[in-house]
C-alpha cells in the first residue's frame, strides 16, 4: 500500500499546478460556506448580547423592531418622542425595578450621542449579566461632561479632559453644530462589543441645555444663550426618545407590557427585545437563506471543479493508468489511487479553507468588531460545521470515484497505444 501511496504522491506532484488550483478553489468555497454561517451566528449573538439585560423597551408607538433598532442599536431614527411625564408614570409602575431614559438624536462625528442619567451606568446589562465598567475616569456629573464608549475614544483618539462639540442630528458631517457648548470628556467605558462602544453619553439636562436656543432642528435666529447662563433655565427634560426597563420579576413582563400599551395619556409601545429580535431575524432570514444558498453553490462549483480536473486529468492519465494495469494494478489499486488523490485534494482544500478562515478572523476580526460589533473570534469547528465539512468531503470523495470507475471501464489496449 505504501508503494501505491508513493505512486499517488509522485503522480500528484507531477500535476501539482492543476491540483493546487483545485485545492485553492475548494478552500475558498469552504471558507465562504463557513464564513457566511459564522458571521450570521456572530451577528445574532452580538445583537442578542446588546439587549440581554433589558426586559422591555419603552417608546412611541411604532413597530417593535423599529423601536428596538433605534433605541438599542441606534440604527435609524425615532419618528416620535414620548413625554417625560408618561415616562415617569411608567417608571413608577409597581412591577418596574429600574428604567434607563434615553434621549437620542444628536451625534458627534457620526457617533450617536445618548442623553441619559446615572441609571445607565448602574442598571444597563449586556452579555451575560455584565455591567458597564469605566476604563478611565468617572460617570458624568456636571452639565457639560461626557462619557465615551470604548470605540469612540479609540477611533477618535480622545483622552480624559479633551473638549468636544456635538452636532445636531445624526449622520453626515457639516450638520448644525452645538459648537457654543463644548463638552469635556470625563470618562471612557471599557469595551463591551455592543452599540455602547459607539456612543457618547451625556446627561439628559445637557441635551435640554444645548437645545435651549433651538427650535425645529435649527438655531433660533438672533437668540444665543451662552453656556454659562443655561443653568438659570429649567433643564428638566420634557421629552424622551425611549427607555429601557427592567422588571422586578420577569414573569410580570406581559402584564407590564399590556399596561404600557394601554396607557391612556399617550400612545406608547412596550417591546419585548427577544420577540423583536426574532421578528427581525424572520425578516433577515430570507437574505440569510440566499447567502447560504450562494455559498452552497460556490461549494458545488468548487467540487465540480474537482471532478472536472480529475476527469480532464483522466485523459492525460489514460496511459499512466493503463500502464499501471499492464503491470498488474487491479481495479482496487486504480480506485484507491484516484480516491486517494480526490480525498487528499478535498481534505487539503478543507484544511486550507479552515486555516484561511481562522487567519482572516484573526486579521480582520478586530476591524469587524470595531466597525460592526461582530465578534468573529477564533473558534473551534462546531458540530454543525463539521457536518457541512463532512458533506463536502463525502462529495469530493464520491466525485473522485466516478473517474476511477471510468478508468477501469476503458479497454486496456486502448490506453496502451499512445494517441498521436
Amino acid at each position: 500500500m505504501s508503494a501505491l501511496l508513493r505512486i499517488a504522491l509522485l503522480s500528484a506532484w507531477n500535476r501539482r499546478l492543476t491540483l493546487g488550483l483545485t485545492v485553492l478553489a475548494i478552500a475558498l468555497a469552504v471558507a465562504l460556506l463557513l464564513g457566511v454561517e459564522r458571521s450570521r451566528v456572530a451577528a445574532r449573538t452580538s445583537f442578542a448580547q446588546s439587549v440581554s439585560g433589558t426586559d422591555l423597551i419603552l417608546g412611541a408607538r411604532t413597530s417593535p423592531v423599529q423601536l428596538m433598532l433605534y433605541s438599542v442599536f441606534r440604527i435609524g431614527g425615532a419618528t416620535h418622542d414620548i413625554g417625560w411625564d408618561s415616562y415617569e408614570a411608567i417608571a413608577r409602575h409597581p412591577d418596574v425595578a429600574w428604567s434607563i431614559p434615553l434621549a437620542l438624536g444628536d451625534s458627534h462625528r457620526g457617533f450617536p450621542v445618548v442623553g441619559t442619567n446615572a441609571a445607565y451606568f448602574e442598571h444597563f446589562r449586556y452579555g451575560r449579566e455584565r455591567k458597564l465598567a469605566l476604563a478611565q475616569g468617572r460617570p458624568f456629573a456636571g452639565l457639560f461632561e461626557t462619557v465615551l464608549g470604548a470605540e469612540v475614544a479609540r477611533r477618535l483618539g480622545y483622552r480624559l479632559g479633551d473638549r468636544i462639540t456635538l452636532s445636531h442630528g445624526s449622520g453626515a458631517p457639516n450638520l448644525a453644530e452645538h459648537d457654543d457648548k463644548p463638552f469635556t470628556v470625563v470618562g471612557i467605558l471599557a469595551p463591551t462589543g455592543t452599540p455602547v462602544d459607539h456612543s457618547l453619553h451625556v446627561s439628559l439636562e445637557a441635551i435640554t441645555a444645548i437645545h435651549l436656543d433651538w427650535q425645529g432642528g435649527a438655531p433660533i435666529p438672533g437668540v444665543r444663550i451662552a453656556a454659562a447662563h443655561v443653568e438659570k433655565f429649567d433643564l428638566r427634560p420634557k421629552t424622551l426618545t425611549a427607555a429601557l426597563i427592567g422588571l422586578k420579576q420577569r414573569a410580570a413582563v406581559f402584564k407590564v407590557q399590556r399596561d404600557i400599551n394601554r396607557y391612556a395619556d399617550e400612545p406608547l409601545l412596550a417591546a419585548l427585545p427577544g420577540v423583536a429580535l426574532d421578528e427581525l431575524w424572520r425578516v433577515v432570514a430570507l437574505v440569510e437563506q440566499v447567502l447560504l444558498g450562494i455559498s452552497a453553490l460556490v461549494v458545488a462549483v468548487g467540487l465540480a471543479g474537482l471532478v472536472a480536473v480529475i476527469l480532464a486529468s483522466l485523459g492525460e492519465r489514460r496511459r499512466e493508468l493503463a500502464v499501471l494495469r499492464s503491470v498488474g494494478a487491479g481495479p482496487r489499486h486504480i480506485l484507491a489511487l484516484l480516491a486517494l488523490e480526490g480525498g487528499g485534494v478535498t481534505l487539503a482544500g478543507i484544511g486550507l479553507g479552515l486555516v484561511g478562515l481562522e487567519l482572516l478572523a484573526w486579521l480582520a476580526g478586530p476591524l469587524l468588531e470595531a466597525r460592526l460589533g461582530l465578534t468573529l473570534a477564533l473558534q473551534g469547528v462546531t458540530l454543525a460545521e463539521l457536518q457541512r465539512l463532512a458533506a463536502v468531503a463525502a462529495t469530493g470523495m464520491a466525485a473522485s470515484l466516478l473517474p476511477a470507475a471510468l478508468a477501469y471501464r476503458r479497454a486496456l489496449g486502448d490506453g496502451l497505444t499512445p494517441r498521436l
Binding site: A3, R6, E320, V323, R325, S326, G328, G330, G413, L416
Partner: protein, 234 residues
C-alpha cells in the same frame, strides 16, 4: 498435453473495430515450454497485435487462447491483468514506462502488484531492489541514473528499463516486442545475452519480435507471421 505447451492458439480471429477487415486469423499455433521463438513480418502485419492477444491485452473476437495452461477466455479483465503480471514479462514496443516515476520504481512495478514476482525477485535472499539493480547493471544502467524519473532518459535507455521491468521476478513466459529497436550494436548484444541467460536459467519460453533478421540465429524457431495469418492485409 496442453500443460507442456507455453502457448496454444486455435482458430484465433481478431479485428480492431467491428466492421473493419480481419487483422488476424490464425488457425493454430503451439509453442512448447523452453522454445525461443523469433517472430518476423512486415510493419503493420499484426505482430504487436498478436503479442497483445497472447498477453491478454486485447480480447480475440473468436478462438481459443491458452497461456501456460490457462484459458485466457475464462478470465475477466482484471483477472487477465493479474495473470499477466504473475506469469508474463512483457516488453512493449512503446516501453510503457511511467514517466514521473524514477527508473528503479519503474522496474519494481511488477513486484508491487504481484506477490509471486516479488517472492521470485527475493529468491536468492536479496532484496528486490538489489535484483532490479543487477538487471539494470547488466543492461548498462547504473548509478545516478536509477533515481532519475523515466522521462529524463534517452529512448534507448528507456527501452532497457522496460526490459529490466519485464525480467524482474523471473516470469514464466517472456514476450518482447522489438526490444532492441533503439539500441546500438553493443547494447543489443548485452541485451540478448541477458535475455537468453534469464530464459535459460528459468527454462522460460521466449517470444521475440524483431525486424533484425541477424538476431534469428539465437533462437530455436523462426515464425513468419505472414505464413501464420490467413487474413490478407493490404
Amino acid at each position: 498435453m496442453s500443460a507442456a505447451l507455453a502457448v496454444r492458439l486455435t482458430d484465433l480471429r481478431f479485428r480492431w473495430q467491428a466492421g473493419a477487415p480481419c487483422c488476424l486469423d490464425i488457425p493454430s499455433l503451439a509453442i512448447a515450454a523452453g522454445e525461443r521463438v523469433f517472430i518476423y513480418g512486415a510493419s503493420g502485419s499484426g505482430k504487436s497485435t498478436l503479442l497483445g492477444l497472447l498477453a491478454g491485452v486485447h480480447r480475440p473476437e473468436a478462438g481459443y487462447v491458452e497461456i501456460l495452461g490457462q484459458d485466457l477466455g475464462q478470465l475477466s479483465g482484471s483477472g487477465r491483468d493479474r495473470f499477466r503480471v504473475d506469469h508474463i514479462g512483457f516488453i512493449f514496443q512503446q516501453f510503457n514506462l511511467i514517466p514521473y516515476l524514477p527508473v528503479l520504481d519503474n522496474v519494481l512495478l511488477p513486484c508491487r502488484f504481484s506477490r509471486r514476482r516479488l517472492a521470485e525477485a527475493r529468491r536468492d535472499g536479496k532484496s528486490e531492489q538489489a535484483e532490479a539493480r543487477r538487471l539494470l547493471e547488466a543492461l548498462g544502467l547504473e548509478g545516478q541514473l536509477l533515481a532519475q524519473p523515466a522521462h529524463r532518459l534517452s529512448v534507448g535507455q528507456q527501452q532497457r528499463v522496460a526490459a529490466a521491468r519485464a525480467l524482474i521476478g523471473r516470469p514464466e513466459l517472456i514476450i518482447a516486442d522489438e526490444p532492441t529497436s533503439a539500441l546500438d550494436a553493443d547494447r543489443q548484444d548485452d541485451f540478448l545475452d541477458l535475455l537468453l541467460e534469464e530464459c535459460a536459467a528459468q527454462a522460460s519460453p521466449l517470444l521475440f519480435v524483431s525486424h533484425d533478421h541477424r538476431l534469428a540465429s539465437h533462437f530455436t524457431r523462426e515464425l513468419s507471421l505472414a505464413a501464420l495469418n490467413r487474413a490478407s492485409l493490404p
